[in-house]
Symmetry: D2
């Protein structure tokens, strides 16, 4: 994938853990979590990651910005099923001036179920790619340099 932004940070943040209970709706007729459900779990992971860091993605959107997904990779190692209590581990693995990459690991007890990444660019309300607002970058830099 082309890199529409320059890396400004190389340090990585720590994972934030988010528990998720698998819904019946999340399963398919194979009796396991549908492979297309994991991007939703990723979304919860990064949403809660941001809340933990002291701002919410909702506030970010209320300010007129969006983090549009431009890439995703998932590797499926094990299956999960209804009522499993999963732990979604989420962190920022790369921070750039105009975007970032989130990294996720989903565990069921000690077993890695799924690992993945999502790449995002920051856009404003006119859907133009923009530099991440300094307010947010400062929070993230603090987070990353801690």
């Amino acid at each position: 994938m082309e890199q529409p932004y320059k890396s400004v940070e190389t340090k990585k943040t720590e994972f934030v853990d988010v528990p998720i209970r698998v819904r019946y709706a999340d399963t398919d007729m194979m009796g396991i979590v549908y492979y297309g459900t994991y991007p939703v779990y990723f979304e919860i992971g990064r949403s809660e990651y941001m809340r933990t860091k002291g701002f919410t993605y909702k506030e970010f959107e209320d300010m007129g910005y969006h983090l549009v997904v431009v890439g995703m990779e998932i590797k499926y190692y094990n299956t999960a099923t209804y009522d499993d209590l999963l732990i979604v581990k989420a962190r920022i693995s790369e921070l750039q001036s105009r975007g970032m990459t989130f990294h996720y690991k989903i565990y069921k007890d000690e077993n890695l179920v799924v690992e993945g990444k999502t790449k995002h660019i920051c856009v404003n309300s006119s859907k133009k790619t923009v530099v991440i607002p300094s307010h947010l970058v400062h929070i993230l830099k603090d987070v990353i340099s801690k």
Copy 2:
């Protein structure tokens, strides 16, 4: 449910038939279509109903209106599963000045799988309940009186 609008038509429209192929994602671990998938099939039914009648719900939203759902009823008679080719039959069963009721029957071959209704009110871009734009009512009246 309370009736927030007055009925202006009593005649009913004919059903429009929409074929839907069941996706793997639509199933759950019971091996059947998840009960919460049918409202999505209803949405496709009324979307295609409107397209058949000569306007699309998208155009309607582009004009600044929405048909907000205020009520739904579903009866589940039979199950459906992956790759089934279902027929969603949709029609308007009641038309009022500020809203309407859609009626759906979903068949798998000769068997009725699900029957349901959704009740809608018309709102403008400020989310206020408004009279359905006359343009649309005229189309629907024509449809109904045919």
Copy 3:
């Protein structure tokens, strides 16, 4: 809807409260929770209701039983949106020998967002309607008579 089972209890259980954080995936382009998302919230409500009462729906399925949905009713009073923290209140409003009705109220702060019911029949692994296993009925009766 026809009544395929006889009522054996008239007392109602208390609501169990389940907090649900609205996911971005749950919203639609109107900016609110998609109307077809609420049946999923209901499912979580009854799942956690049963867990609170000392057995899980998963255990119930592992015993070879399913609670198939045969009917649903929803009234939509208010909208919810991304990141809202909703409270799903769930209880059994009717218990019969071969099925039950769940009743749900979903609140956002003090505001009722949605109210609904789902009617279920108990089937065995051959998909035949059966009497709810006495083990489960005893738990539920205790629950209801408390």
Copy 4:
């Protein structure tokens, strides 16, 4: 990703085109198709690919096999929205003795919206990785060598 199977074919099949109308349910509050919806579109693509080639994934499962997803990659180039008529182009880009890789391109008119791959392994009803049944391989080889 590790390669749990040996490649037996290097030729690539032609794309099969599948039209998909975007559902309202597929959108999110950003007004576009939710990023986690595309894996569902991929599923439809490979399902219809197989139907076009003369066997269905349903028949494959009825024979006791599953194609479990072990990896996925997506690049998002453009957005799509409600009511868009997308074309999902799907083909097998790699065929191995125990698995395969599907390749997808999703277009809206002339614009590439999304491109992706899913990697699958063949498992039997005991969830053990197995060689793809020769019946299916023959069909696929024919397909590929054409």
